[in-house]
């Protein structure tokens, strides 16, 4: 499995679009502060602003990880590299495992780097505005950890989703439609606001609120459980579909 993970690493790192997406996502916390830096209005910030920045970055990281996972798997079909890939690794379950595994590891690196950028850039911004903060405080570490977890699970979801629907245009379009439209619209259309709890973004939101004192006890764990369950179901579906698909 180590060899397969290394092969997947080489694929991702030799794909310019993947490196670009990950680089922009990791730098995003610093970019997100630019409007505030140039704003003529006096900033309304306090120590909790850092947690808000971390949670805000999570949305971008999750979508970047979702796209990276999709591109890693659907790209194999789009460019027909799935043929040499399967000739080198004919056991498809191992290939899917390696693909999901490396995308998860890549997401850890991207999200961890983004968290460091967020704490350093956000911390500098807060200090400049006279707000004292502790970058290693429990709530900061807890939130950063939750952001990394959400990013990792979205990366795996993306790769698994693309194994089930290997058409790159369809799966990217479908995933973005789901994230930006369906997840918001479905609870409204079905008149069931609680439905949100069972969907990826709702589950991620609860997980990201792990350090929020107003959140209900166990809510973060419940969010994590829903996200893990969605990932696991899609991963199993990915293996089943990959094993039964004829590569043409």
């Amino acid at each position: 499995m180590t060899a397969l993970l290394r092969a997947e690493a080489r694929k991702t790192l030799t794909t310019r679009s993947a490196v670009l997406i990950a680089g922009v996502a990791a730098a995003y916390p610093a970019l997100a502060l630019l409007p505030a830096l140039f704003s003529p209005e006096p900033p309304d910030v306090d120590a909790a602003s850092l947690l808000q920045l971390l949670r805000g970055v999570a949305d971008v990281l999750a979508i970047a990880a979702l796209l990276l996972g999709i591109l890693a798997m659907a790209g194999e079909f789009r460019h027909s590299t799935i043929v040499p890939t399967l000739l080198a690794t004919p056991r498809r379950a191992r290939l899917v495992t390696a693909k999901l595994g490396f995308q998860a590891l890549f997401a850890v690196a991207m999200a961890a780097l983004a968290m460091v950028v967020a704490v350093v850039a956000g911390g500098a911004y807060l200090s400049n505005n006279g707000v004292s903060f502790d970058g290693a405080a429990g709530d900061v570490l807890l939130t950063a950890g939750a952001v990394v977890l959400v990013t990792v699970l979205y990366a795996a979801i993306g790769a698994a989703l693309a194994a089930v629907v290997p058409n790159q245009t369809a799966v990217v379009g479908g995933a973005l439609l789901w994230v930006f439209v369906v997840e918001n619209a479905l609870p409204v259309v079905l008149r069931d606001p609680g439905l949100d709890r069972w969907m990826p973004s709702g589950a991620a939101e609860r997980l990201l609120a792990a350090a929020d004192s107003s959140a209900a006890a166990g809510d973060a764990w419940a969010g994590l459980a829903v996200l893990v369950a969605i990932t696991a179901v899609l991963a199993v579906a990915a293996v089943v579909v990959m094993k039964s698909t004829d590569i043409s």
């Binding site: 092969a7 030799t14 794909t15 590299t81 040499p84 000739l87 080198a88 004829d246």
Partner: protein
């Protein structure tokens, strides 16, 4: 057991039967041409053999072992299926490094194979800028990475210029001289006739003929076509017909007897005391044999 064994292989895509009860073997250390017109089922058979597609029934194995169950598949079997299986933004060397990493092949093989296929100077170029011929060569480099004892090549001359085709023929003969088993598909017998020892000929997903090329051609020769010119065309047609020969009349009045060798036709002519102006077997190239074999099967399937 032979290195490649296909047993009662059938593959259906909905109502279409692409491969229909196909059985053949490929002997060790020889170059076997896998021939048939477009749509005969060659690529489908090779994809099943390489574990990329699932058979509806039957098996295609390497000496009894499915490709996915081989211990080190890339070191046993090298395959080239299409010239477009590359990420255009990736450098040629990176493409091969990914494969050596996944298949646990020494990285030193990357430069060795690039050298062997004539791409030593192009290893750091992105594949998007490669010609079709260069992509074919890169595909061959990928197939050779594991120094495999069996090579499976699907239409490898596609996109190659005449120099490239000659180079490929040399490479295939060299592989065979090294004791490797080569299965090379083509829809043109003339393309591989100079390279192959044996042929497996398909039409409509079924086996038409198999064996050493010379034997297959000789067997097909039983269907020789003989042309006759005689001033007694009507009498000749009746006499040859009565002798059980198939006779057709050309626009210019010449008679064409199919399905019988010249000696059989000659005897029938003598028995009927016919006057002849001309009698000769029509020239038959290997391609004619191939077309006859595949078309008769296609015709019978319609």
């Amino acid at each position: 057991m032979e290195p490649i064994v296909v047993e009662q292989l059938t593959k259906r895509f909905g109502p279409v039967t692409a491969v229909d009860g196909l059985s053949f073997t490929v002997p060790a250390g020889r170059v076997t041409g896998f021939l048939g017109p477009n749509g005969a089922g060659k690529t489908t058979t090779l994809r099943i053999l390489l574990g990329l597609a699932h058979p509806t029934s039957g098996r295609a194995t390497f000496a009894g072992t499915a490709y996915a169950d081989l211990a080190h598949p890339a070191s046993r079997v090298g395959a080239v299926l299409e010239a477009t299986s590359f990420h255009p933004g990736r450098r040629a060397r990176d493409h091969l490094r990914i494969l050596t990493t996944a298949a646990r092949i020494p990285a030193s093989r990357v430069d060795e194979t690039l050298e062997r296929v004539g791409l030593a100077g192009a290893g750091d170029r992105r594949v998007g800028g490669f010609s079709l011929g260069m992509r074919q060569r890169l595909g061959l480099a990928a197939a050779l990475l594991g120094d495999p004892e069996i090579l499976v090549l699907d239409e490898p001359t596609n996109g190659l210029d005449p120099d490239g085709v000659r180079w490929l023929r040399g490479l295939i003969r060299q592989m065979a001289a090294e004791g490797r088993t080569v299965l090379v598909s083509s829809h043109l017998l003339s393309e591989v006739a100079q390279t192959v020892d044996d042929v497996v000929i398909l039409a409509n997903g079924r086996l038409v003929s198999q064996g050493p090329l010379a034997d297959v051609a000789r067997r097909a020769g039983a269907e020789f076509t003989v042309l006759l010119r005689t001033p007694q065309a009507d009498k000749a047609r009746l006499a040859l017909g009565a002798a059980g020969l198939r006779v057709t009349v050309q626009d210019d009045g010449a008679l064409v007897v199919t399905g019988s060798s010249p000696d059989v036709v000659g005897r029938a002519v003598a028995d009927a005391h016919l006057t002849l102006y001309e009698m000769r077997p029509l020239d038959r190239t290997l391609e004619d044999v191939f077309l006859q074999l595949t078309h008769s099967r296609q015709g019978s399937a319609r």
